[in-house]
């Protein structure tokens, strides 16, 4: 339990990270550092997107599986690590050198 806390705190403290959240398999946000409405929005949308991405990868090659999903946008990058239990989501602002 404490390790979970520590891991999440460490992730949050990295440079450029705007927000972290953990969503469970049903799309319920378990833990989040952002406000509720944003979290709910991210949870709902990214859950569906991850499912779609996963099924795409499996369709092309049934023995393959989705390990990580990164969406780079103009303003920041959204990273999703899918698992059958839960879905950690991190929003980071990658620094321009």
């Amino acid at each position: 339990m404490a390790e979970v806390e520590e891991t999440l705190k460490r992730i949050q403290s990295h440079k450029g990270v705007i927000g972290t959240m953990v969503v469970n398999a049903e799309g319920i946000p378990i833990r989040t550092t952002l406000d509720n409405s944003t979290t709910v929005q991210y949870a709902g949308l990214l859950h569906q997107l991850t499912m779609k991405a996963k099924s795409t990868v499996r369709d092309i090659d049934p023995q393959n599986d989705l390990t990580f999903l990164r969406i780079r946008s103009k303003k920041h990058e959204i990273m999703v690590a899918p698992d059958k239990e839960c879905l950690p989501i991190v929003i980071q602002n990658p620094c321009e050198q």
Partner: protein
């Protein structure tokens, strides 16, 4: 061999309705092949024919019907909570969350995924994967591409009865919107039931206008306030000035009183640069230019009559069709009139006579567009009759540069705001011409047929890339020009200014010579009687006409004789052929260029 088929009908049956019936095919004539005719042909061996061994393909074009799009949003609400947990109850949700967090699988998953996530985060922090490595090399621009323009969007008048789009104005911030004024300028020929509405379009949605403006009289011009993007100024067909605030809705916010407004349609309205941002002025073909403050539109703050004899007589005033004002020269403004004269005026003149500074005449018809060059304000562009002309303020007698006379009437023109040597013109046959006079003087750099009907107005967006043109059926087309036409070329400013200077100098030299010649003639005629001077012009005209006729007939006879002589020389051929020759010679006379010499 005569092949004849005879149809017969009784006279009493003429005009009767047709009774069609079906019957078997009948063979009327059968012409068997005649092998004797083959003797006139020679068999050719070998024969050269081109063959291609490839799949035969055909090209078809199809245009889908216009489909309507709508944008809708979806609202997310929380869901997925199990049935026993009420998402609105904070206690229950917290309890649920705590329960999940205690699950061992959850803990393992998080540990594992956490390390994966950290790896990616560190990656992101280490390197910017979208870094541009060769930024500085973009400066070398070789624009060899041919100028081109393509249509991006078309905004059609949603009304049943189509009205011409008479004026287009871009939104001052961000240029995402277009205000288009629709009105029928044919005097009293507006069809029954024609709507007075004008629209503001959002560039993203060409199906439906974003805002509708509902005046009491159709709008001839429409301008956004460059300081306040919610306020629009419009000139109406009945001479009134109207003002809208888009935040307040589609009905007129302010309207000038009809007694003090113009008596003719208002053809030009421009906002002035003032501290309050509420001053504007308008011009109309009744010959007046009026200054207004939109906070008080009940009467104009100032009125100037466009009378070039400087006597302030409204009867002698010239009707204004276009208005020009450059904010960098705030005291001067120019008015283009229906009579083809550009009047340059000074706002700060004490007496009305001082207001009118000078005139430039050169067009044969109304001047529909008048604009100073944004880079060199001393030079301005006028568009009217069948040409576009560029003038310099220093040379009053004639324009310094002009285009050739086109086949169609020119309706509007504008300079490009980014390139000093580029300007755009629209014509009555629906073409848009893009002129670049550092590239080519005699023809437009690019000529595009935008639509089949006449184009009435044109407006370039501030970045020089987008052009909106309005047509006679109310269709506003949005075009994007190629990069070469909207980026400043190397040395272009210098070249354009040297061209202007050179042409101005040329005109000045010509003016000086003209003046000299006129002085000389004056010197000569001062010795003669007044009467003689009066009769001479009349006599001259008749003499000239008689002389011209004589010369004309002389040349005709000479040519005829020449042709006959040639025909005689070729006599040795059989009679039939020479008969043909003579006919041919006479036909040629009609096209003989000698006729045009007169």
């Amino acid at each position: 061999m005569e092949i004849v088929y005879v149809y017969m009908k009784k006279r009493s049956e003429f005009g009767k309705q047709c009774n069609f019936s079906d019957r078997q095919a009948e063979l009327n004539i059968d012409i068997p092949p005649n092998p004797e005719l083959a003797e006139q042909f020679v068999e050719r061996n070998p024969v050269d024919t081109g063959i291609q061994c490839s799949t035969s393909m055909s090209e078809h074009e199809a245009n889908t019907e216009r489909f309507e799009m709508e944008t809708r949003g979806v609202n997310h609400i929380e869901g997925g909570w199990p049935k026993d947990v009420n998402p609105l109850e904070l206690e229950q949700t917290i309890r649920f969350r705590k329960k999940v967090e205690k699950d061992e699988n959850y803990i393992n998953a998080i540990m594992q995924l956490g390390s994966v996530m950290e790896h990616c985060i560190k990656q992101n922090n280490a390197i910017d994967i979208y870094q541009e490595y060769f930024d500085d090399e973009d400066a070398v621009e070789v624009t060899d591409e041919a100028p081109s323009a393509k249509t991006i969007n078309v905004f059609r008048d949603p009304q049943e009865i189509k009205r011409p789009a008479t004026h287009v104005s871009w939104h001052p911030d961000g240029n995402r919107k277009l205000a288009v004024a629709y009105s029928c300028l044919n005097f009293q020929r507006a069809p029954e039931g024609m709507s007075n509405e004008s629209y503001i379009w959002d560039l993203e949605n060409p199906n439906r206008p974003e805002i509708t403006l509902k005046p009491s009289s159709p709008l001839v011009t429409l301008e956004y306030n460059p300081k306040d993007s919610h306020v629009l100024l419009a000139g109406c067909y009945n001479g009134q000035i109207a003002c809208w605030d888009t935040r307040k809705g589609s009905l007129v916010a302010e309207l000038s009183t009809i007694e003090f407004s113009h008596r003719d349609p208002v053809y030009g309205t421009i906002w002035l640069q003032s501290k309050t941002g509420t001053e504007c002025f308008s011009a109309s073909s009744d010959g007046q230019v009026m200054w207004w403050d939109i906070r008080k539109l009940s009467e104009p703050t100032e009125v100037v009559v466009m009378d070039i004899t400087k006597k302030e007589q409204l009867e002698h005033a010239l009707g204004a069709v276009s208005l020009e004002f450059e904010s960098t020269l705030p005291t001067k403004f120019m008015v283009g009139t229906e009579q083809g004269v550009v009047i340059s005026c000074n706002r700060k003149g004490k007496t009305p006579a001082e207001k009118i500074v000078c005139t430039f005449s050169g067009h044969h018809g109304p001047i529909y567009a008048l604009q100073r060059n944004p880079f060199y304000p001393k030079n301005f562009l006028t568009v009217g009759d069948w040409t576009a002309r560029i003038w310099s303020e220093d040379s009053r007698e004639s324009s310094i540069m002009w285009t050739k006379y086109h086949m169609a009437y020119l309706t509007d023109g504008a300079w490009s705001p980014v390139r000093p040597a580029v300007f755009f013109t629209t014509k009555m046959d629906g073409t848009l011409d893009i002129w670049d006079f550092v590239f080519k003087h005699c023809d437009p750099a690019l000529s595009l047929k935008v639509c089949d009907e006449a184009l009435f107005c044109l407006r370039v967006q501030d970045n020089g890339c987008f052009i909106a043109c309005g047509s006679q059926l109310g269709t506003t087309t949005l075009l994007e020009v190629s990069n070469g036409l909207c980026t400043l070329q190397r040395n272009e400013k210098n070249m354009a200014s040297s061209i202007f200077e050179r042409e101005t100098r040329r005109e000045k030299i010509l003016e000086a010579r003209h003046r000299e010649m006129r002085l000389k003639e004056k010197g000569k005629t001062e010795g003669r009687d007044d009467e003689l001077r009066e009769e001479l012009p009349a006599l001259d005209l008749e003499e000239l006409v008689a002389k011209a006729e004589e010369e004309f007939f002389d040349i005709v006879f000479k040519e005829l004789k020449r042709k006959e002589a040639e025909a005689m020389k070729k006599k040795p051929k059989p009679v039939g052929a020479s008969g043909h020759l003579e006919l041919h010679a006479c036909d040629q006379l009609d096209e003989d260029p000698g006729f045009h010499e007169l």
